[in-house]
Symmetry: C2
Subunit: 344 residues, 2 copies
């Protein structure tokens, strides 16, 4: 039995970067693994390790491969007479954005009882919607930048001074994101963001804010944290470079910060993770401004699982503590009494 | 083609009341309809109208019926040579609690492109978790009662004076809910609630608070509201009577309130619904205390769809405006350039 099944592709604007992310993990994860591709029609295909190249997907060659059906207990291959389950111990949800991170894929895996690494439905919804992330962080006494939500077709009145940063409310990566320095740029940026979501979120933009990324996971022996990265400034808003980020396996810029700040970030990470992200490798992106730490965003399916931030990613992925589902007894104890009472 | 498919049962503590709810709707909905049952093993079965009786399920007779497979495009019957899709125009998600209301079922239906009435994944998560409901309501300037969250195995220190009401954080209906008037009752109530969830939510309990329920839905021609119900006091905490509530088709106690309060409730309903619950018939339960309106909870799959609150439920169910999914183009525009850049 292979140890891991990597589920990638999926219906999202990050479909292509999920493919690149999976190609990256092919070499990073040393354990036995298989690859399951979800295409634009939401059909699943088993992909050979040797076929894990960009052109295999862009040329739709995967369609000649083995189609899988997801049903109770896992993914099944059809053979002449009967179906056979594809065997693996744990699936890794590597579908970035939309259905991979909004709760859809996690619901599917939970419903069909596939054991998986990745966010569950609550953590997905809270991290995928940038307003919910802020409400959630604030409820845990974690600072976030001020924000404003605008709806497509409604008022476009800005409450902040320029410059501001405009993002679709519900997208991962930097797609549809712009910085606006005046009204003309703002109007344009809004239209760009509305291409991706009917709601946009606007925040003041601070030129010289510090950024720090910390990944981590809860294991049987407590939390495992990555080192802290200070991402290089130039890459923050550059679309293509952000894409590249999803395929990284090395080259993170280690932040030069004191132990105290590191401790605060780890503590903040735990407050956010606990009770909501069990089972997932999460990357939290922070801002530091005037010595105050702010949560920027929570990535529950970070590009190539943020492997490049861990010294020993293979041991991390094996140590993850997966949440247990609660057994719900269905024993028909009440139904006859309900019906009897109803007939009274 | 039948107009509606009613999906009921499901893995949840409310499995049995979902059956009763579906039996009730059999007579309430006049349109053509079929019934799809999700059993305790998450297998789907087509159920004949004539078999829609409690004993058919409690005696597991449904297992002799036709099994369905959910896959791209809908539910399929297996015939000797090929599969045939079960035809219907719109599915009604009538699975109460857990997987019906926590986003699982909605994700499944969205993923497999089944057109349905019911909450989408975001609305499900926000309404199913009582803390998220409060954070969400507050972000829309709607009052909620103060609350405290406790975790299983942690500190049990109460911050409120008695009496308090203790609820599992994530359950529908009144299951696991108690009022505690002293420490002994509180300790017992906590243990009861922890049977259902690792987190509990505690609020001050006000004996003589007024309760009002309002159901509604967004249609092509704007909002349709139900009349406002003032539920009878005795039924609030009574487990069996609350169960009965799910099977109601009549007998709501019309609230005797002035037009102004009705307007305020409707306005509050719209603030909560807009952008989050499109596609669902939602019942909002309010408190009125010292002339201030508080949101108690949002039920996105209310018992028998709160049909008994509408004067003409059949026209409501036909008028619901279902949200459109955004088309996400997957065109492999970037992947080759990403890979090229990566090899630089």
């Amino acid at each position: 039995m292979d140890n891991f099944a990597i589920l990638f592709g999926g219906v999202s604007y990050e479909h292509e970067i999920s493919i690149v992310s999976a190609i990256t993990l092919k070499d990073v994860i040393k354990e036995d693994k298989i690859f399951i591709f979800c295409d634009a029609n939401r059909e699943f295909y088993l992909v050979d390790k040797e076929d894990m190249k960009a052109s295999f997907f862009s040329k739709r060659e995967y369609k000649k491969g083995e189609k899988l059906t997801l049903k109770q207990g896992g993914f099944y291959k059809k053979s002449l007479l009967k179906e056979r389950r594809v065997e693996f111990a744990t699936l890794i949800n590597l579908i970035h954005g939309k259905e991979g991170e909004d709760g859809t894929i996690s619901s599917l895996l939970d419903f069909f009882e596939v054991k998986y690494i990745g966010p569950r439905v609550e953590g997905s919804v809270i991290s995928y919607n940038k307003e919910f992330t802020k409400l959630y962080a604030k409820s845990r006494d974690i600072e976030v930048l001020d924000y404003q939500i605008l709806q497509k077709g409604c008022d476009r009145k800005l409450i902040f001074d320029y410059p501001v940063i405009i993002k679709p409310l519900r997208l991962g990566s930097s797609i549809g994101l712009s910085v606006a320095r005046d009204e003309k740029e703002f109007e344009y940026a809004l239209d760009v963001a509305y291409e991706f979501d009917n709601s946009v979120i606007i925040e003041p933009f601070f030129e010289n804010i510090k950024e720090y990324n910390l990944a981590g996971v809860k294991s049987k022996d407590g939390y495992i944290f990555s080192f802290i990265e200070e991402p290089l400034k130039e890459s923050i808003l550059d679309f293509d470079k952000k894409y590249l980020d999803f395929s990284r396996s090395e080259g993170a810029n280690r932040a030069n910060i004191d132990q105290n700040l590191q401790k605060i970030m780890q503590k903040t990470f735990v407050s956010l993770y606990e009770g909501l992200f069990e089972g997932a490798i999460v990357r939290c992106d922070f801002f530091l401004k005037d010595d105050k730490l702010y949560l920027n965003e929570i990535n529950p399916v970070p590009g190539s699982l943020a492997n490049y931030l861990f010294n020993d990613f293979n041991s991390v992925i094996k140590a993850i503590l997966l949440p247990k589902k609660r057994d719900i007894p269905i024993d028909y104890r009440y139904i006859n009494s309900i019906n009897a009472a109803k007939c009274k």
